[in-house]
Symmetry: C2
Subunit: 352 residues, 2 copies
DNA sequence: TGCGTCATTGTTAGCGCTCACAGACACACC
DNA sequence: GGTGTGTCTGTGAGCGCTAACAATGACGCA
């Protein structure tokens, strides 16, 4: 049954010549109709269109790519695609690319290593992508990328500055500043920080923003804790911080814990749980702020003050940057698009 | 500077003929080396390999696809790719496909409509995908899909039964049962339900599991509330439920609210917030369970009992099903792979 | 010596399309 | 009538590869 499903046998997909024959024109005329060339008589065009519909003809993309030397395909390498940020960026990327007439092929990395990155790019190259966007925010990744000397344009997302590879990023340092300033303005003498993994550029930039804001305010910077973006690591950091709240500043020569800036919302969730278990009230005894504004943040206990990043804009800008290079043929050495984040104040940081 | 970066001008990528010439063989021998044909003398093979490395040659995928009639590309249509489930599935899908030597091209839908789905598939067809996986769990989507009669195999994820399109799904009904049974076993006389949008098959199946478990236990089924998967909708449903807890069953002729099964974790988060604001203790006064086991669930206040789905397995199985069809040429009419979910018990449903 | 067999290599055609160019025809102008 | 200047259409080549077949030489065996 399975073999005889299509009654006339394994019929080949119709070709341009088939359409031409049915419409009584040359294959070239069919091609012209398909590419909207102006110099085709209306009646001819209609005839060809009808033949196309009758046969259900579709242009063979491989043949077309072979002769035009354009695959109209872009590659994306992403690292933690189940996280909110990367997933949203991926989405924005794909949408923007499709709008520009390109297809997106994705390769995801379970964990970043220089080898995995190289393999991913190799895989994409094999399929003839015209350029790639790399969403691998580890510090060394960008360096590894710069050494690869690829035969097509590359754009990084959150790839950091100072490299010849163009990229798009959110101003993470500004985000760190916004949060810290906000907490200082609420009257806290200083702000503690639970940082992301320091091989991530974003994590480093958020630390820098936090530290900068403290310095500008003349506040002492307590030693930052470090997590790995997961709620669990935030939970552990939160337990550590909770211990310091109760034991007071004297024992450790550190300032009192009354405000914490956590480098992402998931870790902030862990911190909240740790504080809850320690019997600390938020924001009563400690104010907390996160980063990312995941959809859940508004419904945390209490709702979380955080920083919103416009991932869709990041995706769109990366594609723009990539396609610009494709079409101009010039590489935008070191060009960077920076997107501003926005502080979202909720009750985790404000005495109601 | 940008134009003169490559000193010898815009050199074409090397072709098989270039490699052949450098190695002193015919292009066909190069082709044989590349496709690991056994009948090539070792010395010849080595010579060709060296020429390939010297020139940095890569096979032109378009030319290859043109003659072999195989693009080795699979398409994926996904609907809410920033949600945890779809994103994880996407990830598993891509990884499995790459392992099998295929490339994955993705199209994401902002919102499901029959038109958007058709457009997405059109877009993928234009790029010559050999088959597609559709992760669009709305009820009508599958029907629309069945009517499209596509010239390549299709596999659905969470696409429901009774259609000629093969697919992979998690046993959502079983999941609903597991949760409900668990809550009943804890001594609750009945279990309320905050359902997902009823045009989603998964939402319907979870309702069915919930209702089935109640019936089997001889418990009365209260009218289910309906949300849209977002924390906000869960919050609203939670407010409604909280009102019933305080006013008691008498006013509405409904059983008392002492246990709630929420159709996903995000909505459960909203319910938790509503209950917290209403001064209800969880699980003291009301037990709550969710569905999905998002990474955050363990850190909710309180940690959430939920159902874990193995999305990676779903992705892997879909790709297997698709590639099997590709290689056998036969469509697996109505074949379904069902993956079992697992109950994760945490403190939101248990008196400590 | 003659012939078949096998491993190794080369030759040729053609996948389905676009590009460059060449025709055909209509119309205007001198 | 000749010569442009359009508009519309067809012809031929070739993109880079693989598949089918042909050719070559080495070897074994009668």
């Amino acid at each position: 049954m399975s073999q005889t499903a299509e009654s006339t046998g394994p019929r080949r997909a119709p070709t341009m010549a088939d359409v031409a024959q049915l419409a009584g024109v040359s294959h070239q005329t069919v091609s012209r109709v398909l590419s909207n060339h102006p110099n085709v008589r209306d009646t001819t065009r209609a005839e060809v269109q009808r033949a196309i519909e009758t046969l259900g003809y579709r242009r063979n993309s491989s043949a077309r790519a072979l002769v035009t030397r354009r695959t109209l395909t872009l590659g994306v390498v992403a690292c933690n695609p189940a996280l909110f940020g990367p997933a949203s960026t991926l989405f924005g990327l794909e949408e923007a690319a499709r709008g520009e007439g390109y297809m997106v092929s994705t390769v995801t990395l379970r964990r970043y290593t220089a080898q995995a990155l190289a393999d991913a790019i190799d895989h994409l190259s094999d399929w003839g992508v015209e350029g790639i966007v790399v969403i691998v925010p580890q510090r060394e990744a960008v360096a590894a990328l710069a050494e690869l000397r690829l035969p097509f344009p590359v754009v990084t997302v959150e790839g950091g500055h100072g490299l010849p590879i163009p990229g798009v990023s959110v101003d993470q340092e500004l985000g760190g500043r916004l949060v810290t300033d906000h907490l200082l303005a609420a009257g806290h003498t200083t702000v503690w920080h639970v940082a992301g993994p320091q091989d991530w550029l974003e994590a480093g930039a958020r630390v820098a923003g936090w530290r900068g804001a403290l310095e500008d305010a003349g506040a002492e910077a307590p030693p930052p804790l470090e997590g790995d973006w997961t709620p669990l690591s935030g939970y552990r950091a939160g337990q550590e911080l909770a211990g310091r709240v109760s034991s007071g500043a004297a024992g450790r020569r550190s300032p009192e814990v009354s405000a914490v800036f956590v480098a992402n919302d998931q870790m902030a969730l862990g911190v909240l749980r740790a504080f809850r278990e320690a019997g600390l009230s938020v924001p009563g005894q400690v104010a907390i702020a996160g980063f990312d504004d995941i959809p859940e943040a508004e419904f945390f206990a209490p709702p979380l003050t955080t920083v919103r990043q416009d991932f869709a804009a990041v995706g769109k800008a990366s594609i723009r940057l990539l396609i610009d290079q494709l079409e101009s043929g010039a590489t935008r050495e070191g060009e960077r698009v920076v997107i501003e984040p926005r502080l979202i104040v909720r009750s985790s940081s404000t005495q109601h």
